[in-house]
């Protein structure tokens, strides 16, 4: 029997667990030692419609920030900053709760087509 | 003491046989002997006939099965006298009975010829000394006298220590119990 590896998930708090790691290398008991590391997992590709910020209309009330289920509205210094498109799933709640219609929802297909068209023009 | 000495208690639930078996064991353990004390557990509540057991030895006791052939039988309630009391007891067995009857009368009831029979009125003794009918403590005094297993003075000292531990705040209870044991030791009659 190979000697038991005392270090697995133990002496060293293995942080980044990769799919190719063997049983001695991954963390003990399924513990996760990096709080909030789900933000390295992207859910942006779930989206079929995309929120787009209309800067001119925005009054920075942050109702959209309050109601985003995915913490995907980034507020900086108490003001709307940007969308976190890596995680936004395109549920459309933010656009609905916005009292001044400063968020528009566009189909991702449409956005892609527009981008494509723009590239073709250039 | 070469072999393990085995004791069986016959009583009714609530008379304190379990407590007595455990207290007896504790006091004997104090003298460096090895002991076991355990009751038979059933669904019985107050009033039902119950059994409790002791094993006493100079060496560590391995056996954990029930006591089947006790050399000593203690009966806390004379209404229990019958075949169950004599069951499995060897011919030279010792019976210690709480009763107002004489040893001869008990012998007749038990229908035995051999063995030794001791009687003591533990109910009256406990009533006089403790103020309530709790025959278990006086019977320990009778046990010491009947078995001659342990020196009386030493037993009393241990008992006093045990009782002091249990009834720290009730000196009158300690006093009463010790008195009860002492009287039973003196009053027990054998044949």
């Amino acid at each position: 029997m190979t000697p038991f590896n005392r270090n697995f998930g133990q002496g060293k708090r293995t942080k980044a667990v990769r799919p190719d790691m063997n049983w001695e290398e991954i963390t003990k008991a399924g513990n996760v030692y990096e709080p909030g590391n789900a933000n390295t997992y992207e859910t942006g590709d779930w989206r079929t419609i995309r929120p787009v910020w209309n800067k001119d209309r925005c009054i920075h009330c942050l109702i959209c920030w309050r109601y985003c289920p995915d913490a995907s509205i980034i507020a900086t210094d108490g003001k709307f900053d940007s969308f976190d498109y890596k995680h936004c799933k395109g549920c459309g709640i933010c656009a609905n709760v916005c009292p001044v219609h400063a968020i528009d929802m566009f189909s991702e297909d449409e956005m892609d087509r527009q981008k494509e068209a723009k590239r073709n023009e250039e | 003491m070469e072999k393990v000495l085995e004791v069986r208690w016959h009583a009714r639930g609530g008379q304190g046989a379990k407590t007595a078996a455990l207290m007896l064991a504790e006091s004997i353990a104090e003298m460096g002997k090895y002991v076991q004390g355990f009751p038979e557990y059933g669904p019985e509540r107050m009033g039902a006939p119950i059994l409790a057991f002791n094993r006493i030895s100079d060496n560590p006791i391995h056996i954990h099965s029930n006591v089947i052939n006790p050399q000593i039988v203690i009966v806390l309630d004379a209404t229990l006298l019958g075949p169950k009391v004599t069951a499995g007891v060897p011919d030279d067995g010792i019976y210690i009975v709480n009763t107002t009857k004489t040893p001869q009368q008990v012998r007749e009831i038990l229908k035995i010829t051999g063995g030794k029979i001791y009687t003591v009125d533990a109910n009256q003794i406990s009533l006089d000394t403790i103020g309530r009918v709790i025959p278990n403590t006086p019977l320990m005094g009778a046990f010491v006298k009947a078995t001659q297993l342990i020196p009386y003075e030493e037993f009393m000292e241990n008992m006093k220590a045990e009782l002091t531990k249990k009834f720290k705040k009730k000196p009158e209870v300690i006093e009463g119990n010790l008195k009860a044991i002492e009287r039973a030791y003196q009053e027990v009659k054998g044949e």
Partner: protein
């Protein structure tokens, strides 16, 4: 300093818990474990321990709260019996898979139904595959000693698993026995302070425990648990040696009684091993080469030690105080027979199921087993693998 006392098995367990002084105890009363909880709660109410005592509403919650406390960084314990263990069954698996060093006495009692309050090992056998270390105790002394060692075994960095300490309901738990207890300071030094590597109340290093673990990693985590169980064998022996140094009492994986030159052996757990030893002493006087093997550790299963201890015998009887209803006898029989299968000697191994629901194991019963073994050796045949001892048939 050693101190000889006459106390019951439950008192011995409670006494050990008091000296261990755990941070949290969460427990629910059940016959025959109740006294442990009762006695311990008096230690709490008299300020004799630093423990936060959580009087949960069920055994499921007892183990759940103990898991929460242990994960939070506390030295945490619970205690149970029978139906209580069955109710916490789900959480026992979770405690071991979360790798929490929870110590919990199990006062063995038959499982319903029909309901029965007396001793057998069907409760403990129900969790034999739950990833929990299981120590078994012949008497109150071993219950006390095993409780104290269990803390060190559970918390060892190579192990980090729950440890259950099994003692026979009523037979050991309620019987007054003479044993030696250590003084508080010695126990305190022996168990030390629990220092978890990661815990919920570490404000600087928050941790997520109890994740959803699918086919991509679950298997690897199970393999880690096996490794911890493997490592536990060595740790149990190490801790046993250290404990011997403070107590003078030897503890290993198994207790081999007069087996060195034995032809016949009985393998049996807990208090019945004591009775078997008594019979062996008598039979030895008659010149019979008989012995007893008492596994102190049932999980991890000490098969190497068992092979070694039984390699010279000709016939073995495994006494199980539990049924599997598999028609292949009791749970320990399967394990012992498997362990002996690879030995070249043709050792005959038979099974006796005994003592279910608290049926007394009489000395004659054990004598009969040795008689049977002698007969098997004489004829070279074992006609029946699975037998019932003390059953009306």
């Amino acid at each position: 300093m050693k101190n000889k006392v006459a106390i019951t098995g439950n008192e011995a367990v409670a006494q050990a818990m008091k000296q261990i002084n755990p941070d949290v105890v969460a427990a629910y009363p059940i016959t025959p474990q109740t006294e442990v909880v009762q006695i311990f709660s008096s230690f709490v109410s008299n300020g004799q321990v630093d423990t936060e005592f959580v009087t949960v509403e069920s055994e499921h919650s007892a183990m759940s709260a103990t898991i929460g406390a242990s994960a939070a960084g506390a030295r945490a314990m619970t205690a149970t019996s029978s139906q209580g263990l069955a109710l916490m069954f789900e959480m026992v698996y979770i405690a071991s898979s979360l790798r929490l060093p929870i110590v919990f006495p199990v006062v063995n009692r038959a499982l319903s139904g029909p309901i029965n309050i007396h001793c057998d090992h069907s409760d403990a056998m129900g969790i034999k595959d739950a990833g929990v270390i299981q120590l078994f105790c012949e008497n109150a002394q071993e219950a006390y000693d095993n409780m104290i060692q269990a803390v060190r075994i559970a918390e060892h960095p190579d192990v980090l698993l729950p440890v259950s300490v099994n003692l026979d309901g009523f037979i050991t738990s309620h019987a007054l026995d003479v044993l030696e207890v250590l003084d508080d300071e010695t126990v305190k030094n022996f168990v030390g302070t629990y220092q978890p590597e990661e815990y919920l109340l570490d404000a600087e290093n928050p941790v997520t425990m109890g994740t959803l673990d699918l086919y991509d990693f679950y298997f690897e985590h199970k393999r880690q648990q096996v490794a911890a169980m493997e490592a536990a064998k060595k740790v149990i022996e190490e801790v046993g040696r250290e404990y011997e140094a403070i107590s003078g009492r030897k503890y290993g994986l198994i207790d081999a009684y007069k087996l060195d030159d034995a032809d016949m052996a009985v393998v049996v757990l807990n208090s019945a091993a004591g009775s078997a030893k008594g019979v062996v002493d008598e039979l030895r006087e008659k010149g019979l080469k008989v012995g007893v093997l008492k596994p102190r550790v049932f999980r991890p299963f000490p098969f190497e030690a068992i092979q070694d201890a039984l390699k010279g015998v000709k016939a073995v009887a495994v006494l199980d105080r539990a049924e599997t209803f598999s028609t292949l006898g009791g749970p320990m029989f399967a394990d012992v027979r498997t362990a002996l299968y690879d030995l070249k000697n043709d050792i005959k191994v038979v099974n006796y199921v005994y003592g279910l629901g608290g049926r007394d194991l009489r000395l004659e019963d054990v004598e009969k087993v040795y008689d049977d073994l002698a007969n098997i050796i004489k004829t070279g045949r074992a006609d029946k693998f699975v037998n019932y001892l003390g059953l009306r048939e």
